[in-house]
């Protein structure tokens, strides 16, 4: 059984039909990427999985359990956590408070919390230096690290990443992707939404290509990179 199975979901914003029958699967331990242009429905797919925008049709199952009737805060407790688009850190709270909020669904005791923090700091040493600082004063790259650290505090088995490379300097994009890879190697399954298709396909095992609310292509990352249409549309090849 696949870890996450999305079957034919239709999500609407009012009358706007944003997702027109998306189906995808994510297996335990994989990195799967969703690529596509602006407005293709990538973010909506993630927020449908989190329960923030409920699909009107179709099912989403996590390890066989139906998530469609589950409320967002319960979905977090089931082991799905998201790094939202544009980072979505709590700008007026400190780094420490942001990380605490990430663990909100678990209510860890002090020992557990300290162990978690140690792990976060080994992934993102910058956050240790900034621990008592107000998050709004962090640089863009640090904010992205904080958003990822916060999501990891929930001990997700499935981590949803929405455009982690957005607005970052190229050198930082590389290091963020290295960190995503190492999070995956520690056993977290990852569903990655990206506009930077080349980067995403370089670390993912499989990928889906979205276009105006539908999946137009799905294949292994390697094949997608070789695919002529993908190259033309997303990889900037002639």
């Amino acid at each position: 059984m696949a870890m996450l199975e999305v079957t034919n979901i239709h999500t609407y914003y009012g009358n706007i039909h944003a997702l027109k029958g998306i189906s995808l699967t994510v297996e335990q331990g994989e990195i799967v990427t969703l690529i596509g242009a602006n407005g293709a429905g990538k973010t909506t797919t993630l927020s449908s999985i989190c329960g923030l925008t409920k699909p009107r049709q179709g099912t989403i199952t996590l390890e066989g359990r139906d998530l469609t009737p589950t409320r967002p805060h319960d979905i977090v407790s089931l082991g799905v956590s998201m790094v939202p688009e544009g980072r979505g850190i709590f700008a007026r709270l400190t780094v420490a408070e942001n990380l605490d909020l990430g663990a909100y669904s678990r209510t860890p005791n002090r020992q557990e919390a300290e162990k978690d923090l140690g792990e976060i700091f080994s992934l993102f040493p910058r956050l240790k230096e900034r621990y008592r600082q107000v998050a709004g004063t962090l640089s863009g790259g640090e904010q992205q690290m904080l958003a990822m650290g916060r999501a990891i505090m929930a001990h997700p088995r499935l981590l949803l990443l929405d455009e982690p490379s957005m607005g970052l300097a190229p050198i930082l994009v590389q290091s963020i992707f290295d960190i995503i890879k190492s999070i995956n190697q520690r056993g977290t399954t990852i569903l990655l939404v990206e506009q930077n298709a080349l980067m995403a396909l370089s670390i993912a095992s499989r990928g889906y290509v979205l276009q105006s609310g539908q999946i137009v292509l799905s294949d292994t990352a390697h094949n997608l990179r070789e695919n002529e249409m993908v190259q033309k549309a997303y990889l900037g090849a002639g």
Binding site: L52, P72, Y104, Q133, E142
Partner: protein, 523 residues
């Protein structure tokens, strides 16, 4: 043209326009009267050979002149020589004076030749025009204006230059800091501050102060302090809803009204004849307000920001209008309100002003305790994240609905307690005690004091409810002075008088970059 000259001309022009504006709306006369009253000058008395009113006017104009010169000198101060700074202050004063003198001369001549200027500008009464010329003939008055404004501008400039050059404030502050740190570094002091005894002593002193204050202050101040205390209570409640949870509630007065009406209707002999004991009704009032808070929040759960503000505003008005409606007079006592509201008694003695003040202090302390515990709890953290970004905090696993209801309910409970105390102390409740201005005032107290901060709320309540009482000396100009004070306060401390530490940085520009880490170095 040299930039220094251009800037002085600009400043002179601006101040000229401001002074003329004050003249044309008749404020120069009003201000002179205020000054005359404040100095307690008799209208017939003479000061320095001048009549009292022209003297007061000269003081007022002199202040504007000083301000103009000081401002210009401050703008010029950096990297300029004494000559340039003072010269630019004088130039500002000259331009300022020329503009003012010109208009003073023209209006004065017109006035002297019998033209009734107040048919065109209603506030330009002959007496005002005369006063603006220091009660002199037009030409003399105009020259006086020019000379006086130039002189005061120069003085203002010299004053600022002197202060800045000698850095007197900087030195005083440094001296104070060094003294303070030296005292703190004394082994005995440091040990005492670190020991728990320090807290006990501090709390003990505060407790003694709060215990003695009502006995010493007298009835009038006890009443005023009580009102301030009730506003602190309301402010603390609203602070939870607005400051922590970020839900803009403009109908907060509704819960206050529910508390007040509950105690009134259950303890007053009419209209229901239920004369229950105050101590029994107190929790009922709080509970009623809390329940109404929960009921209100259910329909507005999905609203955010402005929409929530409008709905709650309407709700506040609905409660007030219901309480005075004819249809409900049998229940609420109607527009006349409820008289003879019962008060608390302890050991057979009913409470006097001192007793009420103690009760209010106690309630405020309780509210502070509850707020502090909540603020640093899981719930408080969840509220703050909700305020920052509702969608993200949902994605963090926070149950938004539950926390919104909780914030509204706790806020309403505080307001209910405030209402119970208010009605019992006044022995009266009426619809007009619960108009929209209460909500606005409480919200202003929270904002002026510093949103999200407990000391801020207390300071804000003192400013909004206590200050008008202190300003009573000014009589008719009380509201004017109060408004001016609020404007000044928001200019000087835009994040509130005592802001929560995390809010401070929002309003500071420039300093932020020093905290930022370079992006390139993050690897």
């Amino acid at each position: 043209m040299k930039p220094q000259i251009k800037s002085s001309l600009n400043a002179g022009l601006t101040f000229g326009i401001v002074t003329l504006f004050l003249y044309l709306i008749g404020f120069t006369t009003t201000a002179s009267q205020i000054i005359q009253n404040l100095l307690k000058l008799e209208p017939e008395s003479k000061v320095l050979g001048m009549d009292a009113l022209p003297f007061s006017f000269a003081l007022f104009l002199g202040l504007i002149g000083l301000w103009a010169g000081a401002r210009q000198a401050r703008a010029m101060h950096k990297g300029q020589s004494v000559g340039v700074v003072l010269g630019s202050a004088v130039l500002t004063g000259l331009v300022h004076g020329l503009i003012v003198a010109l208009v003073a001369y023209v209006t004065g001549s017109l006035n002297a030749s019998g033209v009734k200027l107040n048919t065109y500008l209603s506030q330009l009464l002959p007496a005002s025009v005369q006063l603006f010329l220091f009660d002199q003939p037009p030409a003399t008055g105009a020259f006086l204006q020019l000379g006086f404004l130039t002189l005061t501008s120069f003085l203002g400039g010299a004053l600022v230059y002197g202060l800045m050059a000698s850095d007197i404030f900087g030195r005083l502050a440094a001296a104070w800091r060094s003294l303070w740190s030296r005292v703190n570094d004394l082994p005995a002091v440091a040990k005492f501050r670190a020991s728990p005894a320090f807290n006990y002593v501090a709390y003990g002193l505060a407790a003694v102060f709060l215990l003695l204050l009502p006995l010493r202050a007298g009835q009038y101040w006890n009443y005023t302090l009580g009102t301030v205390g009730i506003y602190v209570l309301l402010g603390l409640g609203l602070n939870i809803v607005v400051g922590l949870a970020g839900l803009l509630n403009l109908g907060y007065v509704a819960f206050f009204a529910i508390g007040a009406y509950t105690v009134s209707l259950l303890t007053a002999p009419s209209p229901h004849g239920l004369v229950w004991d105050f101590w029994l009704v107190l929790p009922i009032g709080i509970l009623a307000a809390t329940l109404v808070g929960i009921l209100l929040v259910v329909p507005v759960l999905r609203m955010r920001g402005d929409y929530l503000a409008i709905v709650t505003l309407g709700f506040g008005e609905i409660i007030r209008i219901l309480s005075k409606s004819d249809a409900l007079t049998w229940l609420t006592g109607g527009p006349k309100g409820v008289n003879n509201v019962g008060g608390p008694a302890l050991f057979g003695r009913t409470f006097d002003d001192v007793g009420y003040l103690y009760l209010i202090f106690l309630s405020v302390l309780l509210a502070i305790f509850v707020t502090r515990r909540l603020q640093n709890s899981r719930v408080g953290r969840a509220w703050e994240s909700m305020r920052e970004d509702e969608t993200v905090s949902r994605a963090m696993g926070i149950n938004i609905l539950r926390h919104k209801v909780l914030a509204f309910a706790i806020g309403a409970a505080f307001a209910g307690l405030g209402g119970v105390l208010f009605a019992a102390r006044n022995q009266f409740t009426g619809p007009e005690d619960h108009n929209m201005m209460v909500s606005i005032n409480v919200l202003s107290a929270v904002i002026v004091g510093g949103m999200g901060s407990i000391p801020g709320v207390i300071a804000g309540a003192f400013v909004l409810k206590g200050l008008p009482e202190i300003l009573r000396e000014l009589e008719n100009y009380r509201v004017l002075a109060f408004a001016a004070l609020l404007v000044v306060m928001m200019l000087v401390r835009p994040s509130g008088i005592l802001p929560a530490s995390r809010r401070k940085f929002e309003f500071q520009s420039g300093d932020e970059s020093s905290n930022r880490g370079g992006e390139g170095s993050a690897k």
